[in-house]
Subunit: 179 residues, 2 copies
Amino acid sequence: MLKEEKTMKSEKVYEGKVLNLKIDTVELPDKGYSKREIVEHPGGVAIITITANREMVLVKQYRKAVEDFVLEIPAGKLEVNEEPRETAIRELREETSLEAKKLSYITEFYTSPGYSSEKIHLFLAEDLIEVDPQPDSGEFIEKVTLPLDDLLRMIERGEIMDSKTIIGVFIAMRFLEKN
Amino acid sequence: MLKEEKTMKSEKVYEGKVLNLKIDTVELPDKGYSKREIVEHPGGVAIITITANREMVLVKQYRKAVEDFVLEIPAGKLEVNEEPRETAIRELREETSLEAKKLSYITEFYTSPGYSSEKIHLFLAEDLIEVDPQPDSGEFIEKVTLPLDDLLRMIERGEIMDSKTIIGVFIAMRFLEKN
């Protein structure tokens, strides 16, 4: 029988701009104690786009955490008092200069529940129209539009390295198969 | 033209058992400076299992970081000097009491490249045989075996909340379609 881990102590180690770090001391089901190193993250959104030509719009950017350029679906973290849908509209516009006439909530998931609270809310954007660029200052990104069939092959060749993007491509393919 | 972010300063904020936290000051392409809060994680493995009956073996456990029980494919972090394949064999045995006669490397991906270095190496385990349980002490998990078709529906209903598990189910489905 699985049981929750009771928090016996919680120590904040770092409070930052994007994330906090805390060390929780928990009581295990066998009454032993253990420590959990936990990243507190506000969560974010990610946006699957499907164009009229079965293409998807992605962004490429340098990610210091992995010291590499990463191809990802448009995404961003939730600002204070922002609903995920608003974040999705804002980030899609900032990162790709696109507006979706149809924006559907798809699902939500944890990126790494073993140590991080980050949850991503996934949206599907259709009927896309180009709008005036309104880039977020300090973001250096390149917009890349690719056929969904190519993206599937890129996943199989290990060329798509970001988890939310792999999930987004698979979900877009299933959506197209059904519609 | 995208450019790497040059590290101007790197400050270690926390060194832990599972992860470290550092704050890097970087130089942006426009020569401005910015801070990056970065979780250093050793990376890990995750294992897609496919049984003779088109089922997958998963584990359910309490995850303090998200304060919930999460259904995941077997996984674990790389120990020092451990090859991903060894980790996969060890974790599959510890978490599910299974040994795979066939273990194939599938791909690798970042769980959250915006702030974490964590990379997961994904394996596919086939021809599974039951072995003596060798649980990792201090792990409280429940083994759950489910048909792959059910798992796909559970993803669509938002009942599978873990990113590596969503990816694992989609890849297993594609593998079955092709073989």
